[in-house]
Subunit: 281 residues, 4 copies
């Protein structure tokens, strides 16, 4: 009997009191035992198959030919997912907590479209929400480590957030102003700058260097301003990259010692004395 200990989800959902609940919990929610791992892999396969079916069903020639097979696969998988959902509820001590956890909501929402499709046309396209279930892959591939990795990333993002906010606000104003200026210049041409929202869309397409070309300036003035916008967009991408790189590096270096006397962590790994209480480490 293992103690769930390394992920937020597990801590929120301790196994129910009965012996069979503990065993089911081990298989369904964990992946340390062979059975648990096999369950998770089977689940991932089912998720991938269900997403593939939704995608292929949208391709007309395939839908015409294999539509019936797709429907059957979809219903079989949906029934399996329903059973899985019920089993998950059955083996945790507090089912409501599971239902309202992130994965609980995703599990539930990814079931609904198939049932809804009995009543509403087109609802089964929503099945793509099942994509989110792929995030369960973290469990299978040595989850704990990956989760701690992504926590480092999130910490670096949180650290850099204020700086990046300043930067994003400047970009946002630049996009609005560029879009409007281009609208004023190009509106009488037949070049696609029909109104300010479309021009702002063009400014986003241009600044992110996507550049579809369905809307493109034709006047000399328009092209001149567009060139300035591109050079500006090209220049600014370096700013957040620099900020973020520096932050990741700083947090990488932060595998720090702790002081036995005062409990301060975050000491330099080269420290001989605690910088807070002066005690020898």
């Amino acid at each position: 009997m293992t103690e769930p200990k390394d992920t937020a989800e597990r801590r929120l959902l301790p196994p129910g009191p009965a012996e069979w609940q503990r065993r089911w919990y081990e298989v369904i929610f964990e992946s340390d035992t062979p059975a648990g791992k096999a369950f998770d892999v089977a689940l991932l396969v089912a998720i991938v198959v269900s997403i593939l079916v939704v995608m292929l069903e949208s391709v007309e020639p395939l839908a015409a030919k294999y539509g019936r097979a797709f429907d059957i696969i979809e219903w079989v998988i949906t029934l399996l997912f329903t059973l899985e959902f019920l089993a998950r509820m059955a083996c945790v001590a507090q089912p409501t907590r599971y239902v309202f956890s992130f994965f609980g909501v995703v599990d539930l929402v990814s079931l609904l479209p198939t049932y809804l499709s009995l009543f509403v046309v087109g609802a089964d396209s929503l099945l793509v929400i099942r994509t989110l279930r792929l995030l369960r892959v973290f469990r299978v591939l040595k989850l704990a480590r990956h989760v701690s990795e992504s926590r480092t990333l999130l910490a670096a993002l949180r650290q850099t957030w204020p700086k990046i906010t300043v930067f994003l606000l400047v970009i946002f104003c630049a996009i609005l102003i560029s879009g409007t200026v281009m609208y004023l210049i190009e509106r009488d041409q037949d070049s696609g700058f029909e109104n300010i929202p479309i021009s702002v869309y063009w400014a986003i397409v241009t600044m992110t260097t996507v550049g579809y070309g369905d809307i493109a300036p034709r006047t000399d003035a328009g092209r001149f301003v567009a060139a300035l916008i591109m050079l500006f967009g090209y220049a600014v991408i370096i700013v957040p990259t620099g900020i973020f790189s520096a932050e990741v590096l700083t947090s990488n270096r932060g595998r720090r010692k702790a002081c036995g006397a005062c409990g301060a962590d975050e000491l330099s790994p080269h420290a001989n004395f605690c910088e807070h209480c002066g005690e020898r480490v």
Copy 2:
């Protein structure tokens, strides 16, 4: 009664001498009090609404349907902004200093287009200058910290400026030469390289990797040169990114204490004791 102390704008614009001026100043220019915060949030909402109205008014079907409503909203907001502008002038000791400060100019200029639109057709598109008023958002979201963040960024940019200038000059020459070479190669084709300025525009569109495709080489020689230009453009983006990343990191690290006893620098800025000799810093 608070002392304005943490932003350049506040220091430049101390409240006027009368008691009501101090109270107004607190509400209008600061955001530490509930009233001040409420005022700033209301102002931001009004700015966003006014920008949205300008944008939507440029969409023909919406203008046809709601044109009258848009006009009314615009006039109401402009009148409110006018009152706000007068109030700002009334409660500072030196109104002219406010009028000629950055936000003073923005506030004034963002009022004019509506009034001008009574006499000049199309002037109200200039209303987009109100976008700049969005920068007031810094005040609402714990301004002081953000301003110091952007100062760090500006310092890093200033530090890297000479290096980036060298780099930009090389890029600039490369763009001019590429554009002309492509003009010489492609001018007799019907591929859009009509004259050197347009070819230079193409070189910018290509080097920034936007790539609309409205102008694209068709001859073999043109495509060969274009491929070289793209590979060059792709290679050079890493240069300023590297320069800037290194600079941000260096300036991140630059807030370190030094120990008076053993001379170790590079101590954490939060250290009370030297981590090398244990001496109190």
Copy 3:
């Protein structure tokens, strides 16, 4: 008689016992002697010529004019490569080990298409696999150093892999979901979003900022969602760049000596004396 020592390939393939085998091995597998270097350069030239011939043969006007010459060059080079392959097998102690090494497989596979083209039409396009033989250039250009360089890179990639996996999974889900959402919005337009796989293709084209423009949203809702996707794609490119930059820097720094006397680490790898206490390292 040199001892093969600095590359994995050489260690796997010691020369055969006979004297002529040793001498051939030196020429064919190594590049320290003038003969060995000349052989390698000649080989690279032959590889480049063979690739050029395959490329030019696909250009119709050239194929019509010089098709016969191309065929002759291809056959001559293929025969030379066949002789080279047999010579390589002849001069190593264990020919099968060579045949199943990376370069052995590449050498063999790059011979087959010409012979196959006698029986199968179009097989000679596979000749492009000869491109992989270009990797032999590492041997000519002071190989040992380059190999150690690329090992550093691979180590940095391996170190950052778990973090980048987390990141890629998020991107992957974002691409699937974006594609499906755009399909739901744009499917009734004639804008190219015909089915979910094509929409997912569009999402990849957009997120990587390639942006061909053959498929582009036309509805207001579609453009709004596309703008969000672009901004998201633009934002996320900074994440892996930051992770990788930090890792390369950390691994750059990781070749430092430590002082036995005072315990200082972070000494330069070229230091003879400790820079802190003056003791010989």
Copy 4:
């Protein structure tokens, strides 16, 4: 009388022996005196004007209207540049050394097209080579500092070159192979993949994320392979960025002490003892 000392060009070109040569040299080759600065600024203005004239002359409506004026300006500037070239030769000790220096060649070559245009039609488009003369701007804008900055950059590039070579070779092979694979898949479609060189051009356009869209895959298989190529191209841009960022940072940190005893430079700025000879710094 100043001693030319801080740039390679100046050291190569000492003033001639006569007094007037020294004075001319100061004005023409240096920019420390007011006269020297004024000369350089006037030169830059003339260079910019001459480039603008070449660009505008290629615009047909402008050429038709102002063609005569453009011709006159071009000839006046060319004559001035000729006089300047002769003056430069007159005031240096070894005129041939100037003529064969980088700027000497650029100065001469940028004169020829105008004279050639008397005999050869279209030769004046070559005038764009005058763009290179813009590099003289380094002299005006506190040159010494900029040159040392760009030396740091070049050093970082040289340091990272072997790693980046490995990387570029992999990219190069990937581009060749991608192009050929796409040709094999798409050649029977009317999607522009006419032959392998064009497909390789497409691969470059795609991997650099330029993405014109004039050539784009239409088959399902083609789009699938293209998506893989894009994701690969997107992934690899982070590699050189990381390498270069790390290198710039390392070289930034390298403002190092030198040892008085053994002359070793490149000591750590925190060193107390020389790491080579053990002497106290």
